[in-house]
């Protein structure tokens, strides 16, 4: 019976597609180090939901410290953090206390104890080619309306760059605020991309619009 359940879970994980950008993020209710939380509890805030392979592992420890250090900057931008792994709440509690004792860093965000892999499966965090029991390093940016806006997937072996997460949040928020796009390696203060014109008349007008224009489809402006 237990084998049947395990096989059924494996089939579900293998067949479950990843969530889609621009669609509502999968709804969940989960046990966390801050009590039972639902996705809906975060409405009105941006949410960075991220998974790590396992508690008490070195790369994950460096990531948790980095995310904790990033938390004040995220808070200024109205962003909450929430971690996840397939470990128990007791393991999470012991690990965050261990991090505080050994590294002097307090983990301010909740961590989901996803022992039944429910949230991990909903968000496509399990990559059977890497591990059948540990979540990969997945990160989801969910906007205040609950829409999935960005996803980053890293393998078990590679710790994430939290400054890139901050840059991504800044870019998404700039897009929402100004109706623009952001070029490669953009950072706050750099010029942004004006969306290309959709008609020949607009293209003609664009050349006279006063933007920094290379050609009708390529204009930048300061925001």
């Amino acid at each position: 019976m237990a084998t049947d359940v395990a096989m059924a879970t494996e089939v579900l994980i293998a067949n479950h597609s990843l969530p889609r950008l621009g669609q509502p993020a999968p709804v969940f209710e989960a046990e966390t180090t801050h009590g039972m939380l639902r996705l809906d509890d975060f409405r009105g805030s941006w949410l960075v939901l991220f998974s790590h392979p396992a508690d008490f592992t070195p790369v994950c420890t460096t990531e948790f410290i980095a995310f904790a250090e990033l938390a004040p900057e995220l808070k200024k931008r109205g962003v909450e953090l929430c971690g996840l792994s397939i470990d128990s709440t007791f393991s999470h509690i012991a690990w965050v206390r261990n991090i505080e004792r050994n590294f002097g860093v307090k983990i301010p965000f909740p961590v989901i104890a996803d022992l039944n892999k429910e949230v991990a499966t909903l968000y496509g965090m399990l990559m059977p080619g890497e591990s059948k029991t540990a979540t990969s390093r997945c990160l989801f940016v969910i906007d205040p309306n609950g829409i999935l806006r960005a996803m980053i997937y890293y393998p078990l072996s590679t710790g994430r760059n939290t400054q890139e997460v901050l840059r991504l949040i800044d870019a998404l928020q700039a897009t929402d605020k100004h109706g623009i796009a952001t070029p490669a390696n953009w950072k706050p203060g750099d010029k942004v991309i004006v969306p290309p014109p959709a008609t020949t008349d607009d293209a003609e007008a664009r050349m006279q619009a006063g933007y920094e224009t290379k050609d009708w489809y390529f204009s930048k402006k300061a925001v």
Binding site: M36, L37, S45
Partner: protein, 78 residues
Amino acid sequence: MACVNARGEISESARQILIALLEGAPLSQVAVHTGLPLYRIRSAMRELGAAGLAVETAEGWKTTETGRNAIQGALARA
């Protein structure tokens, strides 16, 4: 958030939330008042509601008579 312990006593954060709700403050203000993130307030309201310490009305969440007694009990223990 473990608003109520095994002895039926409310936690300090639960006490602060219930006090803020005495005057019917919206949850966003309760978050400011308690210094807790709004997601934790929302989660706590489910727990406080299930324990009968707060109730959701058309005007928002309010502390119940049981909640008022729990505040008094917490003050007496302090």
